[in-house]
């Protein structure tokens, strides 16, 4: 089953710590959004494999935007 990873807040993508095809574990940080001078890590909601990453470093995202999709293990 695919799990969507959505932006909890609007901001700028400052780092991406995962790659398509790579395995992730639940609660591992896959990317970081910077907003209002603070960095908010976005965690994998489940164990699985990264199916898709829809943003790149430097992108501005809106709240609720889909950032990545994980194929749940």
């Amino acid at each position: 089953m695919a799990e969507e990873v959505r932006a909890p807040l609007a901001g700028k993508i400052v780092s991406i710590n995962a790659e398509v095809g790579g395995a992730v574990e639940e609660d591992e940080d896959i990317l970081v959004i910077e907003a209002m001078k603070m960095e908010t890590p976005i965690y994998a909601p489940c164990d699985g494999k990264i199916k898709e990453i829809r943003v790149k470093k430097g992108d501005e995202v809106e709240e609720d935007d889909i950032l990545a999709i994980i194929d749940e293990a």
Binding site: A10, E26, D27, E28, D29, M36, M38
Partner: protein
Amino acid sequence: MRPYFEEMPRLGKALKKGQIKRTEENLGQFKEAEKAVEAEVQRIKDAGFPTEKINKRGQMTVWQRLEYLVDPGTWSPLHTLYNPAENEEGTTNVIDGLGKIAGRWAVVIGFDNKVMAGAWLPGQSENILRVTDLAKRLNIPLVWLVNCSGAKLPEQEKFYANRRGAGTPFYRHAELEQAGVPIIAGIYGTNPAGGGYQGVSPTVLFAHKDANIAVGGTGIVSGMAPQGGFNVDMAEDLIEKVKSFKAKPPGRVETHFHETGFFRQVFDDEKGVLDAIKESMKGMPAYDPKFFRVAEPKPPEYEGEDLYRLLPLNPKMVYEFEEILARLVDRGQHMEFRPDYGPEVYTGLCKVDGFLVACIGNRQGYLGKGYPEYADYPGIGGKLYRQGLIKMNEFVTLCGRDRIPIIWFQDTSGIDVGDAAERAELLGLGQGLIYSIQSTNLPMMLVLLRKGSAAAHYLMGGPTANRNNAFTLGTAASEIYVMHGETAAVATYSRRLVKEKEAGRDLEPVIESMNRLAQEYHEKSRPIFCAKTGMVDEIVPLDALRGYLVGFAGAAYQNPISICPHHHMILPRIIKG
């Protein structure tokens, strides 16, 4: 009130695999930062003569005396790095902390007899006043290990006189005694002049057989009648006088035990003095802890070591405050006050070693849509908004009514600013919180997890709340400044930039100044700087924080100045609804 407090809702959850993996680096970096602090602490411990040299003289060092005196596992050092006058000795020359002696909490302070035989140094009276304030705030005995050779004479102008000079602690001793706080002293070595008052001002004096306390010692025998200079005849005369005084210093045991009776007891060996202090402590006023405990003491549900993974060293990285709190309070249990209001701050009742305490802490991260309700911009944790300020005012006031000691946890970048914030009354609500804190007359402690900045640092129970704040702890991630260095550089130089630009001049010199100011802010906000200047009372390893909370709670409930029966408390009922 057993149904309220015996079992309360739980906070926190166990670390997950992914979380452990992603926080490995933070753990390593945090421990590395703590090592740098520990190296400074070790430097203080190694100051002056080596231990072996002191032991060869038949004396124990202050560290050995403390180790023998204080119950194992209870020593919570304070002010170890405090050195506000930047003494070359690296210390104010007193060692202090909170610890149990014979099962009762006391504030303990001793002169470091390895450094100039325990001389007065610049900054020392400020250190002592912090300690006397602590004993007063917690209403627990003050224990002195006196071993004070008097003033470091070449620097006397820096500490002898003035409002908070070397004599002020003696007035504080009198103040403590008048407030019913006993001061127990063990006296060692030669204590002339100021050292004599250090010796005589406590409530009960136990002396070592070689100890003396005196109005003046051998060092001032010729200085009492200045003759306009020195010559060889005077020097020869001085040598003779010093030799005779050295053989027989004034204020010996034969005078102050057998004649004046100032010394309550005298002991042949050093440990005898410490045993007498222990015996005396057994008779100090203290409730049986069971009288105030609301539940059996229990450790936190999860390991303190987890804190190294949960508190990011990177000050910009957000985290969950409740996960931190879960690792510090008994079983991670709590009753949250107004969970649906003021989301930027946590306020709730917790237990520490079975005692009821109130906890207040900044939450981090995005606060959700529509908050703050008075503005069209999003709110972020670490900042304070209208609801959070109102909630803290209410909570603190109710804690005062219910006599519940407060533990503050700060990681704050300040209070919301701008026209909307002014209309939302944040300025008045901030000062209102100060008024609420001051009204409680409660003991409080602060853990500065990371940032203490802007007015929020003093509103949230910071050390400036000096009637209430017993002590403030920092971590290896702590930083304190009025604003971030780069913000300060903008505030200082932005108009200058405009002027230079309009005049067609090179901007580089101004930019250089801006960068220099930002760098200075960085250097002067680091944990070790904060400890040296007294902005925090100690930098504590994360896995040692719980021990300080236990010490604070135990001391606050040992002999409180006022009490509220558990079944008369209103705050737990308000939370329950």
